[in-house]
């Protein structure tokens, strides 16, 4: 099944805007955040217009409706990743908070000095810094699966690291810079064979590839709504039910408790135990609408479209003298093309492209260690999603030639 992108683009009102007078938007920054379809915007507005109330406690009609909508969204998200039970999906603020939740509860509760955690060299800061903080607090050991010069994880090195008796392997399903799609099922099975649990950072993979937590057998999965057509301010953590039940609560407050006395409390059951305070209710509704939209297209079709986009983008970019694309060839890559242009800083590339309405990202994309590994401080990154067109790649290429002209 192929996407009819031209028709689908009508669902995204922002794609009609002009960035400067007469200059339409060419949005190539979906890895940072995606644009939102009308169905998501309307679901959130409809919630505020007709249902809005706080959830779980109220008994009036609006509170019942709001609670039902919030839980329907949880069901939709759970179904989207094939979680065995909706209660295994905890709503958080974003993938970052989901990873922090695991670090602050499961890891803090179960790990002791000298325990080993395995991460990779291609992690986003969100899957590095929570572990840095915990490692310093608990004297944990951190090891990193190296990235090969081609931008793939070195699985031989991973096997060697697994001999060190790790407690957790936390890694990304897809690099936000290299676009590398990692062999998740294989890595999980190797980790389990070594007695380690796994946390998959799905911030990039869940929006772009079919992700089935049961097929992959991951223990934890973290992802964000805003990178998959949903609103900012909401994300999810999936966890294996026995792990979630044995974990201490994360933040303390309302909703996460069963009973509270002046000097103590008993925690609520999963997932509420991890959802302290009034959550982002309208955002959850938007998240539900976003996964409905993606399910309507089909994630196989999403992945196929991005494969086509990135194959074309690599072909066109690599023909430009001075351009070097980071990461593996198209067959191992999601819809991300990060590149450098000889003699021009990525910020300047992005700024000049903006004149022609082209939005790309420039910087280290929250993956500074990875850029260090490749001996660069920053890169320019074009990224694609369901609404991306090949014509937009052509505009990008023309824009890069303009940049070269200015700097030559």
């Amino acid at each position: 099944m192929t996407l009819n992108v031209t028709t689908l683009r009508n669902d995204f009102p922002i794609l009609n805007r002009e960035v400067h007078p007469g200059v339409p938007l060419v949005y190539l920054d979906s890895t940072a955040t995606t644009q939102k379809p009308r169905s998501v915007l309307e679901a959130m507005e409809a919630f505020y217009r007709t249902n809005n109330a706080n959830i779980n406690r109220g008994v009036h009609t609006l509170a019942e409706e709001s609670t039902a909508k919030y839980e329907q969204a949880r069901d939709a998200v759970a179904k989207f990743i094939n979680a065995p039970h909706p209660g295994q999906v905890i709503f958080t603020r974003n993938a970052t908070e989901s990873i922090n939740l695991v670090a602050y509860t499961w890891a803090r509760h179960n790990l002791k000095a000298g325990d080993l955690l395995i991460l990779t060299e291609m992690e986003h800061h969100s899957n590095l810094v929570p572990w840095h903080i915990l490692a310093a607090e608990r004297s944990l050991e951190l090891e990193f699966i190296p990235v090969t010069p081609e931008g793939l994880l070195d699985l031989e090195a991973y096997r060697l690291l697994l001999a060190g008796d790790p407690k957790l392997v936390a890694f990304t399903g897809m690099s936000n810079v290299l676009g590398t799609i990692n062999p998740v099922a294989q890595m999980v099975s190797l980790a389990h064979a070594a007695g380690a649990l796994t946390l998959l950072d799905g911030a990039q993979s869940v929006p772009h590839l079919p992700v089935d937590v049961q097929a992959l057998d991951v223990d934890f999965l973290a992802f964000s709504a805003h990178k998959m057509l949903g609103p900012t301010g909401i994300g999810a953590l999936y966890g294996r039910i026995d792990l979630l039940e044995s974990m201490p609560p994360f933040l303390g407050g309302g909703d996460m408790i069963k009973t509270v006395h002046l000097r103590n409390f008993t925690p609520n059951s999963v997932p509420h135990k991890f959802e302290a305070g009034t959550p982002a209710i309208a955002e959850a509704v938007g998240f539900g609408a976003a996964v409905d939209y993606l399910s309507g297209i089909g994630m196989e079709a999403v992945a196929a479209h991005e494969r086509e986009m990135v194959t074309y983008a690599l072909e066109r970019l690599e023909e430009i003298p001075g351009v070097k694309v980071l990461g593996p060839s198209a067959e191992n890559k999601g819809g991300v093309a990060a590149f450098t242009l000889e003699g021009v800083h990525p910020h300047d590339i992005a700024q000049i492209l903006d004149r022609t309405g082209i939005a790309i990202r420039a910087g280290h994309h929250c993956a500074q260690p990875l850029h260090e590994k490749f001996g660069i401080t920053a890169s320019a990154r074009a990224s694609f999603y369901v609404y991306s067109l090949k014509e937009e790649v052509d505009k990008l290429v023309a824009g890069i030639y303009d940049v070269k002209k200015i700097f030559e």
Partner: protein, 131 residues
Amino acid sequence: MDDLYRELIIDHYKNPQYRGHLDPNDIHFEDDNPLCGDHIEITLRVDGDGKVYDGRFDGKGCAISQASADLLVESIIGKPVEDVKKLSKQDVLDLLGIELGPVRLKCALLSLKVLKAGVYGLGESSDDLVE
């Protein structure tokens, strides 16, 4: 928008007059822009009257950050250190002759931040220095 990459800036980026490192020096400071990894180092020599008589910058980054460093160092040579302390955001923007949005402003002001942390002899730089 085109103003951003007018000749002056491209010229100072490609052919900086004050790129280098002074050793020995009287004032030395360096810092990064965490947003993009831009790096600027500034070294100055100050005479007995408290005037800057030589200066250099080094580092890597975008055209805006590197050109503004070159223009800034050029502008302070011969000036009393006390005057350098009073330099503001607007002085740098006047040197560049362009308007900038909040993100690129950080690129343009990195050199001023480094310079002022250096002349004030501070342990670390701060955004307050360039307000």
